[in-house]
């Protein structure tokens, strides 16, 4: 079980939670499992090609999965995934 931290813009899609837990041995599996439990997140996370949308940053603990093995990066129990879209608010 990995913990996934949900950014404010995705919280409505997971019932308002800041964190959810999901199963999976890789980043891709964990995020797929999130999308299955919370179908509204699917189109926000994945493009039609099945890859992560480029505007979604995903970190395994503190490291960007793009510099690891992307969706194939192994995930262990107790790891935390951080989903992070850009925010622009300054006012």
């Amino acid at each position: 079980m990995a913990t996934i931290r949900i950014p404010p813009v995705l919280r409505p899609s997971v019932g308002g939670e800041k964190e959810v837990v999901a199963d999976g041995a890789s980043v891709g599996e964990v995020l797929r499992s999130l999308a299955e439990s919370h179908p509204q997140t699917e189109s926000q996370l994945f493009g039609n090609d099945g890859d992560l949308n480029r505007y979604v940053n995903v970190y395994l603990n503190d490291e960007d999965v793009r510099v690891l093995d992307g969706l194939d990066t192994p995930v262990g129990d107790g790891d935390t995934l951080v989903i992070l879209p850009a925010m622009a608010g300054g006012r």
Binding site: V9, K18, R54, A86, M87, A88, G89, R91
Partner: protein, 393 residues
């Protein structure tokens, strides 16, 4: 009968080694330590470059900090050579320094020979008091305070983030604060934009901010830019400044600012806020990643609630704006570890801070190239964002 003071001084000077300014100048290149034993006011009005300052009245208690090694070659000087001779006598006869000389003719003869004198910029008596708490911390001190007074910082927006950042940067004595904002103060701003007030509703934010800053610290020069940043004016606006504080409220401006700041090699202290969440990072061109390395493409409108008005806890931009001000001051005084290559997330409800690594993207469309190669046409290239916002209502 006891000898006169003049007689004692004459006797001591006879026993002290004097060094001619020309020889002293050569010795400085050979590792000799130069110590100015005059009073503080004398030192501040001009001293020999590289000299340590230990007033004669504090010689015994402070010389070991300046020159811990008693075998070190020490050259002392004062105005004319008298006080330094007495100090040299103390160092060699009482404190056991092995190689002490007194500069013949003092700084007066040194100047007469046409050698270099450094006149430090000094703070006025009022400034010493105003910034006394800075002067007391070695990481800032007199040097750092002078850097702050000489610094030019541009604030993008005098809104949620810009208001608290501007207030504290002004209080800290940042000498020039530029503010870009084309908006007027609105009642709904006052829940968080603490640089404005109720009486100034309807007043341009740049004017309101200037008034508050002037009342807080007259040392600060406020440069008002009552305009909106766009590709036609951004290079000119950024050029005179050392650091940019990004408090923009939309993606097109953030990408545009990034591209221009990379071209001009200006660091950007960036923050964004939404609800109870804040993000903070320092984008220092070519030393760390840029905004496009972190966010190669903007999110679609439904995931980017920056188009219209959004709720935010009033203190949140205060927290994030002050973290920005902190990073700005660190960059100016060159202390600490700036938040370069790191993204700090603050979540107010859970009271959590999370730090993520941000890497330079070797294929970044902007910062993987030389700044000279980036053209005007490429800056702020962005999907049709206004159409996005309209579509999302």
């Amino acid at each position: 009968m006891s000898p006169s003071g003049a007689e004692i001084i004459r006797q001591i000077r006879e026993g002290v080694d004097e060094i001619d300014p020309a020889d002293a100048r050569n010795q400085l290149g050979n590792g000799a330590v130069l110590v100015d034993v005059r009073e503080s006011e004398e030192f501040e009005s001009g001293h020999i470059p590289g000299a340590q300052h230990v007033p004669r009245g504090y010689l015994e208690s402070r010389i070991e900090n300046a020159v811990p090694d008693r075998s070190q070659h020490v050259v002392l000087y004062c105005a004319s050579g008298q006080r330094s001779a007495l100090a040299a006598h103390t160092l060699s006869d009482l404190l056991g320094y092995e190689h002490v000389e007194s500069l013949k003719g003092g700084i007066t003869l040194w100047k007469d020979r046409g050698y270099e004198v450094e006149v430090p910029q000094t703070l006025s008596k009022e400034q010493r008091e105003r910034y006394s708490r800075h002067l007391l911390i070695p990481e800032v001190g007199l040097d750092g305070q002078q850097k702050l007074l000489g610094a030019k910082v541009l604030l993008l927006g005098a809104g949620g983030l810009g208001a608290p950042a501007a207030l504290y940067l002004a209080a800290a004595g940042v000498g020039t604060l530029g503010i870009v904002d084309d908006d007027e103060v609105d009642l709904s701003n006052l829940q968080r934009q603490v640089i404005h007030n109720t009486e100034r509703i309807g007043v341009p934010k740049v004017d309101s901010a200037e008034e508050t800053i002037q009342a807080l610290n007259p040392d600060v020069k406020v440069v008002k830019h009552k305009t909106r940043l766009d590709a036609s004016n951004i290079m000119e606006l950024l050029e005179p400044y050392d650091i940019v504080v990004d408090g923009a409220d939309n993606f097109p401006t953030r990408y545009l600012l990034n591209d221009a700041s990379v071209r001009l090699r200006k660091p950007v202290v960036s923050a964004s806020i939404l609800g109870f969440d804040g993000q903070l990072s320092v984008f220092k061109p070519y030393e760390g990643p840029c905004y496009r390395c972190l966010y190669p493409v903007p999110p679609p409108a439904e995931l980017a609630p920056s188009c219209g008005a959004n709720g935010v806890l009033g203190v949140l931009p205060g927290v994030m704006g002050l973290l920005q001000a902190t990073e700005v001051i660190k960059l100016i005084v060159e202390q600490g570890e700036p938040l370069v290559g790191r993204l700090l997330l603050y979540e107010a409800l859970g009271a959590t801070f999370t730090e993520l690594k941000v890497r330079r993207d070797p294929e970044c469309p902007i910062c993987s190239r030389d700044p000279e190669e980036i053209s005007d046409d490429e800056m702020g290239v962005f999907p049709d964002y206004e159409a996005f916002c309209e579509a999302s209502g």
